[in-house]
């Protein structure tokens, strides 16, 4: 069996295009959208092969013993990494949506309860809130509005006012119902689209002050947000995808539930053989076995951390990505003649993702077909692709800067977008006159 550690004996390639050696991208493809699905480094793909071999060498030994022990060790390492007070507060789930659904479905919803989401909440999580509201007893979904351009201080101010207004709603319900309903707020640590870091810790604090549950969607956090310290930030619940910015194999995510809240999690999904009424007391055990899956992605989280340590560690990785995001974003905005969404003078919203406006007139349609057109023209035709989204009256591009990125990638992207958006304007019109939409696209919206 190969010595896993030996592949890290030589020095890593420098950041930039040479780092593509550590990934297995199509050489013609310029990957500017790591943020959606992550990317698996080749050394990590190699490092996990022994675990796949173990799984087939003796499936019973692996699934009854070895994988369980290994994953416990990985949880210990990751718990330290995110600053959890106890390993027992961290369990693995397949992806962030799964973790967030586990939390939201665990609450015992009652009439008068409020689920707070945001216009920028990730699409599947908004739908989850909607579904919960669709079934009895129909808790109400209330939405916080967050529009860029804005600033962290403005968001904090608005959030405080908003949460207070939720409490007023609750007080009114309480009078009618004779009991005090609960408010559960879904807060992004880093919004997906636009890719923007929020002052989530302050927002969590405000929730605490106002007796509101804080459910943090940290899908983009681990590996992108430095120096996580969950014991300090103290959210009620927190979820993140290790297969995004941390380089683990898909699907690998964390569900963090501080001990004080584990009684809320009634059951894992699917329910474990270890389930017992009241939950809480055997939280970890309930998440250790939920049916046969490929357990190697959970183990890969540790291999990913080895890779990142070899590159120089979290600060080295993120300082590079952040610098490229800012420089690249500015260059892109220059080429397109538009602006970066993050107008804050300190770029408080920007970590490794940067959002730049598409050069369309303000009348441009917001139709989904435009997104599909960009997909055809960029992803398929030109083999370069950032995420597209519509926000506050404009179309935007979200670029992910990664260790293989260079500013010139943004220049190539800029040219591609100039061409593509001109084509789209011709095909769809500028929105001022009624023009029939082009090709009917049955491809489902995924992000």
């Amino acid at each position: 069996m190969a010595n896993v550690v030996s592949q890290y004996e030589s020095k890593p390639p420098p950041f930039g295009h040479e780092m593509r050696k550590c990934f297995s991208f199509d050489p013609e493809y310029i990957n500017m959208n790591h943020g959606s699905y992550g990317s698996l480094p080749s050394p990590v793909a190699e490092a996990i092969k022994p675990y796949y071999a173990l799984a087939e060498a003796n499936p019973d030994l692996f699934h009854r013993f070895t994988s369980i022990d290994l994953i416990r060790d990985v949880r210990k390492r990751i718990a330290k990494f995110i600053g959890a007070a106890h390993t027992e507060e961290v369990v693995f789930v397949p992806n962030a949506s799964h973790g967030l659904n586990t939390i939201l479905r665990s609450f015992i919803w009652e009439e008068g309860d409020i689920i707070s989401s945001c216009n920028t909440t990730y699409n599947s999580i908004s739908r989850t809130a909607e579904y919960i509201s669709d079934i009895p007893p129909h808790p109400e979904v209330v939405q916080f509005t967050l529009l860029f351009p804005t600033s962290h201080s403005e968001i904090i101010q608005n959030w405080r006012a908003y949460v207070r207004s939720l409490n007023e709603m609750r007080d009114q319900s309480a009078q009618k119902l004779g009991r005090r309903p609960k408010i559960v707020a879904i807060i992004d640590s880093i919004i997906s689209v636009p890719g923007a870091l929020l002052p989530w810790k302050e927002m969590v604090k405000i929730c605490k002050e106002e007796d509101v549950w804080s459910v943090v969607d940290g899908a983009h956090s681990i590996g992108q947000e430095l120096d996580l310290n969950l014991a300090e930030a103290n959210p009620d619940f927190w979820v993140t995808n290790c297969h995004k910015w941390m380089y683990a194999k898909r699907g690998c995510a964390l569900l963090y539930v501080p001990k004080r809240n584990q009684h809320i999690i009634k059951a894992s999904f699917p329910t474990s053989h270890a389930y017992k009424k009241g939950g809480g007391s055997n939280f970890v055990e309930q998440f250790e076995w939920n049916g046969t899956i490929d357990f190697v992605p959970y183990i890969s989280a540790s291999c990913a951390l080895d890779f990142r340590a070899w590159l120089g560690g979290e600060h080295v990785i993120n300082d590079y990505c952040h610098r490229i995001a800012l420089e690249g974003g500015k260059r892109l905005a220059q080429i397109l003649g538009t602006e970066i969404i993050d107008q804050d003078q300190d770029f408080q919203f920007t970590l490794s993702m940067v959002n730049v406006a598409v050069p369309f007139p303000p009348t441009m349609s917001s139709a989904f077909e435009i997104d599909m057109a960009f997909r055809r023209k960029l992803l398929i035709k030109r083999k370069i692709y950032p995420a597209f989204f519509y926000h506050n009256g404009k179309w935007w591009i979200r670029c992910s800067a990664q260790i293989w990125s260079q500013v010139e990638d943004f220049e190539v992207l800029g040219q591609a977008i100039l061409e593509a958006s001109k084509e789209i304007l011709e095909e769809f019109g500028d929105g001022t006159e009624k023009k029939t939409m082009g090709i009917e696209d049955k491809v489902e919206k995924v992000n």
């Binding site: 087939e56 699934h63 070895t66 949506s97 739908r127 474990s272």
Partner: protein
């Protein structure tokens, strides 16, 4: 702008030709030990437990590695466009394979526990509703039903006791009576949902599930079939079965990569399914915009997962065709299960649970050679010891407790031969003898139960499973923690020590 080759959506077969060539260039070996070279088991590992976790043939492992390469080549293309045609292709293949009448009666999911959870949690439970389960219902499903009752206290559980040995006739008579009684006592307007195993896990027993489903349907009872062990072990014709839902794991007997199962639903039952878990971005609230459920598009994408296990079905079906086809596989495994069970019983001087074979497909259950008074109550330490000692001898078969006896459930697979059963039989004779002696020497009170791992640290039964005496369950559960290091076992923990 440099001229790059643009990406065209391609069929999976065109993209990944290797397995095609593999299957074209050689003839398969005969069933039996000749097949071991096509699997990756440890040298000398005697695998008599395909039933729990399946086993992935090397050629399919290689194909899956290619699928991973494809996934990393252009991940955005894969997740936004690329995976969709091959996934629909797999669903079409499965639909034909299991006798669905339409591709949109089949959706993919991670495993049977998840599929059953998705179905049961989608029902809108109301006061007075009744869920029927069995004492033999698989642990995760058993507890899913418990969870539904705990969170909807006015939803009742009605448990049917299934005790072996028995006959198919007796089961059907008992089931008819049970359904009749439940129906008679059910409140007006309530719904009754029966969860029936097609093949029970412990014991490994093929049930007259189609007849049981018919009894349900005649009484207006929902029939949700836990078919975890079915696909690949028995021929399926689901549209004709009359069931409302059928969930099965392709990674058990169908040779798919782990993390692959499907849910089959009739068109009528599909309306029950409102949402996937997690809810998909494509979920639409019921209303005039969405007169029917859009569950099919929800299942296509509802959170980032690795689609490789689902796509591996494409290769699994080719593999099975190549090795001889369904009938040949079923015939070999069934004959071996019966013969092997008889041989095992002879060596251990015990008996086969199902001597007439009416419950036997590819799994057979045989009593373990413990003294009669030894088995009077369930002891988790004995369960743990059996598992540990088998692994220490580089072999495995499931062991379980049922009706005051310890049993083994043995899976007969295409790599097994009769001599495997002989080896297992002799191993059990020595293992059970050891356990009896160790048990005596440890002075464990006869009615004790292992409450936790720590309480047994001072005696040889390490790794005991926590067992709640009020549970009364015989369901299989993974043993947690062990210090056993069997022959051939090797660790690779260097990279993950914090």
């Amino acid at each position: 702008m440099s001229s790059k080759k643009s990406i065209e959506p391609v069929a999976l077969d065109q993209l990944l030709k290797k397995p095609h060539q593999f299957f074209q260039n050689r003839a398969p070996p005969r069933f039996g030990h000749e097949f071991l070279q096509y699997y990756s088991f440890n040298k000398g590992f005697l695998n008599l437990n395909n039933g729990s976790f399946g086993a992935l043939p090397i050629v399919i492992t290689d194909a899956c590695n290619e699928l991973t390469v494809w996934q990393e080549d252009n991940t955005d293309y894969y997740y936004r466009i690329g995976f969709i045609p091959p996934l629909i292709g797999v669903r079409e293949q499965l639909a034909r394979f299991v006798g669905a009448s339409d591709v949109d009666e089949i959706v993919m999911t991670a495993n049977t526990s998840t599929g059953m959870g998705l179905v049961l949690r989608n029902f809108l439970w109301k006061s007075g509703d009744i869920i029927i389960r069995f004492n033999t219902t698989y642990g995760t499903v058993y507890k899913t039903i418990q969870y539904i009752h705990d969170t909807n206290p006015d939803v009742e559980i009605s448990q049917y006791e299934l005790l072996f040995p028995t006959t198919r006739e007796a089961i059907l008579e008992g089931w008819q009576r049970h359904i009749h009684n439940v129906k008679r006592n059910a409140p007006q307007g309530s719904k009754i949902v029966a969860v029936v195993d097609s093949i029970v896990a412990n014991p490994g027993a093929s049930m007259p599930w189609k007849e049981m489903v018919r009894i349900c349907k005649d009484a207006g009872v929902w029939a949700v079939v836990d078919g975890a062990h079915s696909v690949g072990q028995e021929p399926l014709d689901l549209a004709a079965s009359g069931a409302d839902f059928f969930v099965s794991s392709a990674h058990k007997w169908l040779n798919a990569k782990r993390g692959c199962a499907f849910i089959w639903f009739s068109k009528r039952s599909r309306e029950i399914m409102l949402t996937t878990i997690p809810t998909s971005a494509s979920y639409v609230s019921p209303g005039p915009d969405r007169p029917e459920t859009n569950i099919i598009s929800q299942f296509q994408y509802n959170g980032t997962i690795d689609y490789t296990p689902y796509l591996s079905v494409h290769y699994a079906l080719q593999w099975r065709e190549w090795i001889g086809g369904e009938s040949a596989i079923h015939k070999y495994c069934n004959n071996l299960a019966r013969e092997g069970g008889r041989r095992l019983a002879k060596i251990m001087d015990t008996q086969v649970m199902d001597p007439d074979g009416e419950f036997t497909l590819a799994m057979v259950n045989v009593v373990l050679p413990f003294p009669k008074d030894f088995s009077s109550s369930y002891d988790a330490a004995v369960a743990s010891a059996l598992t540990n000692k088998l692994l220490a001898q580089n072999m495995f078969a499931v062991t379980f407790y049922h009706r005051e006896l310890w049993w083994t459930r043995v899976s007969a697979q295409i790599w097994n031969e009769l001599s495997d059963f002989e080896i297992l039989g002799n191993a059990f004779v020595s293992i059970c003898g050891q356990i009896v002696i160790e048990h005596q020497n440890a002075n464990i009170p006869p009615d004790s139960r292992a409450k936790s791992f720590h309480s047994y640290l001072e005696h040889p039964f390490r790794g005991a499973v926590a067992c709640d005496p009020n549970d009364g369950l015989d369901c299989p559960r993974p043993v947690t923690a062990t210090t056993v290091v069997p022959v051939g076992y090797h660790t690779h923990l260097a990279s993950i020590r914090p």
